[in-house]
Point group: C2
Chain length 258, copies 2
DNA sequence: TCATCTCTCGTACGCTGTACTGGAACTAGT
DNA sequence: ACTAGTTCCAGTACAGCGTACGAGAGATGA
């Protein structure tokens, strides 16, 4: 999902140890070293507990103390498995992206790209907290790169210039994330906070009664009257098809030009 | 930018007072009531100070204590102007969206929609913290609705069914937000934390040397070798044109069908 | 057995948002 | 000019957060 830019190897660069540790934890899961006291938990237990909490309470409800409590462990014990909250989140994201049901390399580009988009869409429904992460740079994580690789692969043999492949996958990612944000996560939030659903509705109704000025917003009123806002079906599939159409146009153009 | 859904007025619904207060603060700015002690600050001072801090330090650097310190005022004094941090953020967002340079109603749909998208794009460059807000529902704020009204207005007379107008504006919003997230904010973050740029680069290089497996990610390697990743020019304009093309197709289809 | 290593976790520090409260400053009415 | 009414100011305090530190517990290799 993230836009990543491979760099040539450069051995002369100093490496801050916390960066190295962070990456090592993701790419080389630690093997238990016989010696010393036995661990009560595994790294996966910790990541799983964090995910469970974030799934139900959102990212703002995820605290080290809560994770520890769920595992019936002292708060500071977590820090033997994970350097800190940031790295825990990295691992949670990796674990979540590993769940993606990615299309096979053999799929034709349109099917593959649609499946790629839907897989992410469903992932964001299961784990809406991913959309709450800062995410203007997903972590450099195995599963995240697997997904990225898959997305690029669907288009790399279509004749499009490489730069445009990157651009299109980025556009698709932006689309899925953005739409998931305004649609999926909303309902998840409502479910989580129980009465929040009513409260939100109330806030809306209070707004329309007290503050909405039809003269200031005539277009919205007109669209409302025409029923344009009550879209019980999410516009995901329709918008996706539109997007894929435009990708098809770009491919045709590229093939015509070569 | 948000997807809003007007509801019919319903006077029988109870209204939680904090919701009413929150909306009132946004829509009916408080007039000073002659009586009592004179205020040292205005609401706008507080919102401005908050915006200034968020612009330079990001949203995680915005705390009530810092805002108060910048205004040379006790922390608790802020609470006479603003019920809490949440509402301060609402006001900051409203103020930011008021800066949008929206296209006139007379513009042809393609120019208008492009200007609408670019205005948001530039706004997110000036105030990247907006992208950090939860934002799976922008606040019901005058300026936010102005923007939404403008976006819908550009398409409402093109012959598209109302539902599709809403869908397309939503898609465009998602696109701009998503791309801004992965592009704009990244550089802003680097500027803010100074050495973070080097550090990030270092982390990358460390990654490519130690962990990247070309056999696992052949497509990424291939695209990298072809120079597909070194896009110094942001793909915003190119992707926007592609998106507008697909909107044009939808409009032609709608006109042909009617 | 004992040194060594690793995991466990209580305590503590600095940060956050904000409830409460007493006091300061100002105006309106008399 | 005085008082009553009203508003703003801010110190203190509390619960929650991430996590640095260090003492103790449990396991292993020599």
């Amino acid at each position: 999902m993230s836009s990543t830019s491979p760099q040539p190897p450069d051995d002369g660069v100093p490496r801050p140890p916390e960066v190295v540790r962070r990456l090592a934890l993701l790419w080389d899961p630690p093997q238990p070293s016989g010696r010393g006291r036995r661990a009560r938990l595994t790294l996966d237990d910790v990541v799983g507990a964090g995910t469970a909490i974030a799934d139900t309470e959102g990212l703002e409800g995820l605290s080290m103390r809560k994770v520890a409590a769920r595992l019936e462990v002292g708060a500071m014990s977590l820090y033997t498995y994970v350097p800190g909250r940031t790295e825990l989140l990295d691992l949670m994201i990796d674990r979540a992206f590993a769940e993606l049901d990615l299309p096979p390399a053999t799929a034709p580009w349109r099917d593959g790209l649609a499946a790629y988009a839907r897989a992410h869409w469903e992932l964001f429904q299961r784990h809406p907290w991913i959309l709450q992460t800062n995410m203007w740079r997903l972590p450099l994580t195995p599963s995240v790169l697997d997904a990225q690789e898959c997305g690029l692969r669907t288009l790399v043999d279509t004749g499009l210039p490489e730069r445009q492949v990157v651009e299109i996958v980025g556009l698709l990612d932006a689309f899925v994330r953005g739409l998931a944000r305004s649609t999926v996560a909303e309902s998840a939030e409502k479910d989580a906070s129980g009465q929040s659903n009513d409260e939100y509705w109330t806030s809306m109704s209070s707004f329309w009664v007290d503050h909405f000025d039809p003269r200031r917003y005539p277009t919205m009123l007109r669209i409302w009257d025409a029923g344009g806002f009550d879209a019980e079906a999410t516009p995901f599939e329709a918008s996706l098809e539109r997007l894929l159409d435009s990708v098809g146009m770009a491919i045709d153009r590229a093939r015509g030009a070569s």
